[in-house]
Every structure is written in C-alpha cells, then in structure tokens.
Subunit: 327 residues, 2 copies
C-alpha cells in the first residue's frame, strides 16, 4: 500500500482524491491545506484535513506527498521544502523553468534522503515521454505538438486583466488542416498562426467598450497577436453554463525518415482526448506516486522526471504479470 | 560510442545497418552470418562480414550485439547463447512465449554478466509501453490494439502452405468503423471479425483449383475463419510489382473513466504509420542497444524488456539537455 498525502485542495487535490479511489494499492492518508481545515469539505468522508503547519508530525506516516499547488508561486517554494521531509510528486509545468526547479528540488531531496518526481502530468509528462521516445527512434525527423481543444488558464487570465473585462475563457484550438498535413507525412513548416487558433468568450463590465476590448485582446503580444483570434461577448450566466468545461487534449507527432537514402517515412502519433484536464493530470500523478514509493524503497534519492523512470514502476502489476499480459 | 554487431543479415540486419547510420553515437563494428561471408554484400562498404563461428573472437570488441534472426527458431537459441558473451538486444515477438524466453535469456545474461533486452520493436515494444503507461494512468478502462494496414508474414506463410498456391501476400486491415467507435469513446465490445479484415493476393500453381484454394483459405481455423477475408488471384509479376511493400502500422487505445462517479471519459491513442516495418523495428532496436550499453556500463546485468528501461536511456542527449529541450 502507498499512503498518499495531498497538499492543497483545489481542482488537482480533488482529482488526486478521485484517482486514489481507483488505485487499489494506494490510500489517501491526509489532506493538508493553508486554509482553515474546518472550511475544507472533501468528497470522501473518512480522511483527515489538517493545517499544512502540522505537516511535520506526519513524517513516516505518509509514503508520498502529492503537491497540488500552482507552478507560478506555490511549487517553486513547496516542492523543495517538502522534499526534505517526504517523497514528493509535483506537476510543475513552466517548461522554461524546469532546469532551475529540478536543481532546487534535487538538492532538497538528496539532503532529506527522499525521492522527488517533478513535472508530472501530460505536458510536461506523457507528451514529454513521447517526444523523447520518438526522437530516440527517429533521429532524422521533425516534432510537432498541438494542444486543445481546451481552455488555457494563462490566456483566460490575460484577458481578465484587461480593463472593462469582468470574466473570460479562452480556448486553444489546433488547426485541423495543420494536423492533417502532419499526419499525412508532408512535414510542413508551420507558423504559430497556422498551428492553433484562439477563441475567446468574454463578459464585459457594465459600460465597457467592446470594440476597444476586442482590439486589446487581438493585439496582445505573445498571447494573441501571432494567432487568428475570435472574440465573443456573452453574459456571465452563459459563461457559467456553457464554458465551465475542464476538457482538454492534444497531439504529439514525430515524422521521420529511415533507409540508406532516406527513402522511407514514418509517423508516430500520440494523442489525448480528456473530459477533465485536472482528473487526467492527477491520474498520472498517482501512478508516479506509486513509482516514487517503490524507488525510495529501493534506496534511490534525489529529483527525477518522467524521463528517468521505467514504465514498469508505474504499474501495480509485477514484472512477471506485465510480461505475460501487456508486453 | 556504442560499437554494434549484427547477427543475421536479412531485412532486419539491413535495417540495423541503416539505423546505425543515423545514430551519431553508434557505429557498426561487424556483421556475423551463418552463410558464407563472401556471399553477403552489405549496403555499407567498410564493415567486415564474418562467420558466426568466429564470434567469440569479438568479445570485448563489440558493445552490443543486435540479433536479427526470427522468433520461431533462431532467437530462442541465439539470444541465450550470445547473452553469455555480449550485451544483446532482440526483437522476439511470439507474445505467448515471452515469459519462457525471458527466463532462458535472464539466466544466460546473469551468468555472462551482460545486459540483454528482449522483445524490442513496436509490438511487442512501443505498443507494449503504451499499454502499460495507459493502464497505470487509467486503471478503470478498456484496451484496444489494431494492426495494419500491413502484410502479415505469418498469414502469408499459412496461405503459401496450401496445395496449389505458388506465392501469396496477406494484408491485415483495421476496420475504420471499429477505429472510429473506439476513438469516439463508445467503448464498443468488438469481436475478432469486427476489428480487422484480411485481404489475400494469391498466385496459383498451373492447373490449381482456384475455388478450392479460396475455400481452404477462408475456412482455415485461427488464421482466417474468424475474419471477413477477401481473396484475389493474381500473376506472379503483379504480386512482385504491387505487393512487395513493407509498410505497416497500427493503433493502441485506452479508453478510461475518472471522477467520483466515473463521470469523465478519457481516450489515449498511440499510432504508427510506417513505410518500412523492418526499418522502424531496427530503429527501435538501435535505440535500445544504446540503453543496453549504458546499463551495462552502470553495472546492471540480466534480462530486461522495454518496460524495465527509463526513456532517458534511449536518447543520446544528457538528462540536462533532455530536461531543457524535450521535457
């Protein structure tokens, strides 16, 4: 049995709670929160909710802590801090800052003699795995990653910061034409604009200037200026009723050549179609929590990513069972 | 540098020769054959071809031997034999006999203090990996594997053994309808007949009875009786011109549920579209040869499968580079 703790009870925390329910060899031991524990109502009844300040008392009682905070400000502090006390798994997803995060977590985990697995989820995570496998197999080739259709939290936030905007959701949508060109082996050179479109659903403050808001969205550098962007103005009620989906997904392709004269083409495609982004992410987190527990049991320590962990560690089945049934 | 040896110079041997060409950190050291070495002409000029009887003289001069024989009779003998002398990688693909093969190879490799990686390729191989990852992430779900469109060697051979048949090729074709049902999350229960169809191109001996041959094919137990099978009679020339493709591919799906009440569905799809089955298989073999060399360098020994090896071992890039570029 792997005794799992949750730190932070938002969408990810709730997702871990669900995922543990379906993992027969895992149990949820406790949930830690920065809020008043009395204010946190779990979906499952019989698990204690505690203040994160009491966490040290749980050393030795929890095999793996799953960190469910955000990548912007929570995880850069929490993962190194708690890796000194526990085996930990996080879903740190700021790609550009992974090397820095890895270094801080590795130092802490080595010091604490624990295993830490960072950047677990689907991108980074399962998409990364697929990029690495496919690049190793087809060294002469091209990579393509598409995201969506799904809500981008970062882009929605960027719209919400515009003056006159009350609320907003932004969908990232992969271009079907681009997907088909890649899938058919055409190896297209795709600009940012050709890969994805962006669709925005915006609720205005009373008296706000719709034309000005639309212009500001469409011209926003980095976020929207390089994309074909559509803006719809809707009511708060419509936003709530029709745009609270957590669905997401995406595609990773590698298109490569083999043969003495590069005469043969190959396409490797991996795709996800997810009803719930946080529940899928946390399902991956729980599988890697199992791996962290096992690795720690074998005497490993320090920071790892999904690239450093053999697939068999994620499965509750033994090597013998896996070879007989899934190999 | 990983110095690679090839044992057996057929389609797979030629494929390894190509794959090594694109792997900057690998070099082909020698090719070993059971034929008269003078009769074997390589695609690359500057590599020695030797009799497999001389192989013992190469101990210490080759980092990994890639075994390019067949699963029916070659590999069950060769892999355990050569694992005592070298690190080895094979593509043993008789799923039902993997546990037995693993045991024999493990004993030999441990005795010889070498690393052996068996059942490397795409199924078993990349498809197996995807089944294991997806099962670990979505414990509550269903697996689907489809093969094709591509020539099945086993089914083609079965047709060739029929009296009156001079030559034959058999294509395994996944049903588009079944694929779409799985992809859309319908979780269909599919019979063998609903998943794949079989198309046969047959050259008859002079005077053979076409009707009798067609009946014998369609009623052949295990191979064809459970499928919708189409038989075309063609000339030897037509077979040679239009049906010598080595293209293949396939799809692995897992369709699973999450949520407190299983309210959310997720589809994981992995697919391959390959111009050359042997060249893709050998590209995977060479990536795992790199892993075998590294694992042996770290002091590992014994038999492993793709499930036991972390993705990072397959890549020529360092952990640091991988985290910065592909994670």
């Amino acid at each position: 049995m792997t005794r799992i703790g949750i730190i932070g009870y938002g969408n990810l925390g709730r997702g871990v709670e669900c995922a543990v329910k379906y993992a027969d060899d895992c149990e949820l031991a406790a949930v830690f929160t920065r809020r008043n524990p009395a204010d946190v109502k779990l979906q499952l009844q019989d698990v204690p909710v505690l203040s994160v300040d009491e966490i040290e008392q749980w050393e030795g009682k929890i095999d793996v802590m799953i960190l469910c905070g955000g990548s912007a400000t929570d995880l850069p502090v929490q993962t190194p801090k708690f890796a000194q006390m526990f085996n930990v798994v996080d879903s740190f997803d700021t790609h550009a800052k992974i090397p820095e995060h890895f270094k801080a977590v590795d130092e802490a985990a080595v010091k604490g003699n624990h295993v830490a697995i960072i950047s677990v989820g689907w991108d980074p995570g399962m998409f990364s795995l697929n990029r690495v496998y496919a690049n190793a197999i087809l060294p002469d080739g091209k990579d393509y990653t598409f995201w969506g259709k799904g809500v981008s939290q970062g882009h929605s936030d960027a719209i919400r910061r515009i003056k006159g905007v009350k609320n907003a959701k932004q969908y990232t949508i992969p271009s079907q034409e681009a997907l088909e060109a890649v899938r058919s082996g055409k190896n297209p050179e795709l600009t940012t604009r050709q890969k994805h479109t962006r669709e925005c659903f915006v609720v205005l403050e009373e008296g706000a200037d719709a034309t000005a808001v639309e212009k500001e969205i469409k011209e926003m550098p980095n976020y929207f200026a390089d994309y074909d962007t559509t803006v719809h103005f809707i009511s708060e009620e419509e936003l709530k009723n029709n745009h609270s989906t957590m669905a997401h997904g995406g595609f990773v392709f590698r298109s490569g050549k083999t043969g003495m004269n590069k005469e043969n083409s190959h396409i490797i495609e991996y795709s996800l179609k997810l009803d719930s982004n946080p529940e899928f992410t946390t399902s991956v987190l729980v599988a890697y929590a199992r791996a962290a527990h096992r690795l720690a049991g074998e005497g490993h320590k320090g920071c790892k990513t999904v690239l450093d962990i053999a697939p068999a560690y994620l499965s509750p089945k033994s090597g013998e069972e896996l070879r007989a049934t899934l190999l």
